[in-house]
């Protein structure tokens, strides 16, 4: 198998150019999917027979929660690549993922709380999913805190990469233990994500939102990576070419 495409990814100017080219290919479809999903979910889909219109927050809550986890896995993957192959660009990708993932996690928590209040009368419930989301937020904060705490940029990259890999191994363990803990106390599960048969009219907008959020994440990531690469390579000569262009 020809691995040159992989090794070329190690070159910052190449990645920068690639990011510039690819961003619109993700940004526009993302906007379309999210617009379609929102229209389908907020306007077209019928109100839930139990929750009325309140359930519609699921169209933001569920994709946010899903993305928060996916971004963490992406971050850990990029970090692992950076550790093993010593690619600076991979570390730039991991660094770019962290704030995006933390924002998704925060959004999931906030929308979860907003959902809880009208439906169950309380802004916060210690159900397994919300609790796991909260722990995930702390994992992100720890990652960003470690990066900020180490002065030497190469050391910060590598140390936070180790943390990300350790974290990703722990995420299933933490989730399992939180679910186990919750089942012991038989607390009502607040955010049951749809009954077994979710009507298509509700499901399709949800999937559209999910796809839209994923595309949005990639577009945002590419933009951030461009910024990271520029900042890291600011003393390199190819930067001047880019600025001139």
């Amino acid at each position: 198998m020809n691995w040159t495409w992989f090794h070329r990814l190690a070159s910052p100017p190449h990645v920068y150019a690639l990011a510039v080219r690819l961003t619109p290919w993700f940004a526009w479809p993302a906007a379309l999917c999210i617009a379609a999903g929102l229209w389908g979910g907020l306007v077209l889909a019928p109100p839930d027979y139990q929750q009325g219109d309140g359930f519609r927050i699921i169209y933001v809550h569920a994709p946010s929660a899903w993305m928060s986890l996916m971004v963490y896995v992406t971050m850990a993957g990029a970090a692992a690549v950076g550790l093993i192959w010593r690619m600076k660009v991979a570390h730039a990708v991991a660094a770019s993922c962290a704030p995006i993932g933390a924002s998704f996690t925060f959004a999931a928590l906030v929308t979860g709380a907003l959902w809880g209040q009208p439906m169950w009368g309380t802004y916060w419930e210690w159900d397994p999913r919300l609790t796991s989301e909260l722990v995930l937020l702390f994992l992100y904060l720890g990652y960003m805190g470690l990066r900020a705490g180490i002065e030497d940029p190469q050391r910060a990259d590598r140390a936070s990469a180790v943390l990300a890999v350790v974290g990703v191994v722990n995420v299933p363990i933490i989730h399992y233990s939180v679910t186990w803990w919750n089942s012991l106390h038989q607390a009502p599960s607040v955010m049951r994500l749809g009954k077994p048969a979710m009507p298509l009219a509700m499901l399709v907008p949800l999937l559209l939102m999910l796809l839209g959020f994923t595309l949005f994440f990639v577009a945002l990531l590419l933009t951030r990576v461009r910024g990271e690469v520029l900042a890291r390579e600011r003393t390199a000569s190819w930067i001047r070419e880019v600025v001139r262009a």
Binding site: L139, G142, R155, V162, L163, V165, V166, G167, I174, S177
Partner: protein
């Protein structure tokens, strides 16, 4: 300076520099196990030279246990309900307190660097340091837990179970903590960051440990959560020293 004594050392150096393969017959390389034993011995000897510091995590644990009756209620029935949580939060925080010092002195005086350059497996040496840390922190905490439990109204039948659970759990805590301690080496005032890194990873230990303690207090079988605690300790034992060694090498760069 008496030079004649040096003549014994000279032929040794000459022999070995001349032919490194004779190393094995003239002076043997230390095996990994011997290296681990020596590293462990050194940490324990050092700790006993500064005996005052050994008591600190225990004193902290006692203080935390004292806080809850004062803050909530002196009724033993109520405290008994809270006992699993109080004990485990106290053990967790006490363990965190001692983590900062796991590598700090070694990094400061260059002995950690010598470990990395010794030709021995750095992972094995991490295991040695973690064992020493547990013997000096986790084990004393486990021995103190029954006392704290009694002060919270727990009956004596539950005490062996509590001791055992905290002993196994603290092994996992020392292992998990070693990762954070290695990652934050050299960062000034890293206490808060160390807690932020270690606590989320320690949550499963807290959950299973508190559950085991709760079952023990109610006289039920606590085998299931204890086994889960053991599994965490074993998983930690295989992976944490690797991660800690990687983190130490990164801090030496």
């Amino acid at each position: 300076m008496n030079h004649s004594d040096g003549n014994i050392a000279q032929p040794l150096a000459a022999l070995v520099a001349a032919d490194p393969d004779r190393l094995s017959s003239v002076c043997q390389r230390a095996s990994a196990l011997e290296a681990v034993r020596l590293a462990l011995q050194r940490d324990l000897q050092l700790a006993f030279r500064k005996r005052g510091q050994l008591v600190q995590p225990l004193a902290f644990f006692a203080m935390v246990t004292l806080l809850f009756p004062l803050a909530i209620s002196p009724e033993l029935a109520r405290l008994r309900e809270l006992a699993p949580g109080v004990l485990w939060v106290g053990a967790l925080l006490g363990s965190l307190l001692a983590l900062e010092f796991l590598f700090r002195d070694d990094a400061h005086d260059g002995t950690l660097e010598q470990y990395a350059l010794s030709g021995q497996s750095l992972t094995a040496l991490m295991v040695a340091k973690t064992i020493a840390h547990w013997l000096l922190t986790g084990l004393p905490l486990a021995l103190m837990a029954p006392l704290a439990a009694v002060s919270l109204g727990v009956h004596t039948g539950a005490l062996p179970g509590i001791l055992f659970a905290v002993a196994v759990g603290s092994v996992a805590l020392s292992l998990i903590g070693s990762i954070g301690a290695a990652l934050t080496l050299g960062i000034k005032r890293s206490g808060a960051l160390l807690s932020l890194l270690t606590l989320p990873l320690s949550l499963p230990v807290l959950i299973f440990g508190a559950r085991a303690t709760q079952l023990a207090i109610h006289g039920a079988s606590f085998a299931a959560p204890l086994e889960l605690l053991g599994a965490l300790a074993v998983l930690g034992g295989t992976l944490a020293p690797l991660a800690a060694a990687a983190a130490v090498r990164i801090s030496l760069e």
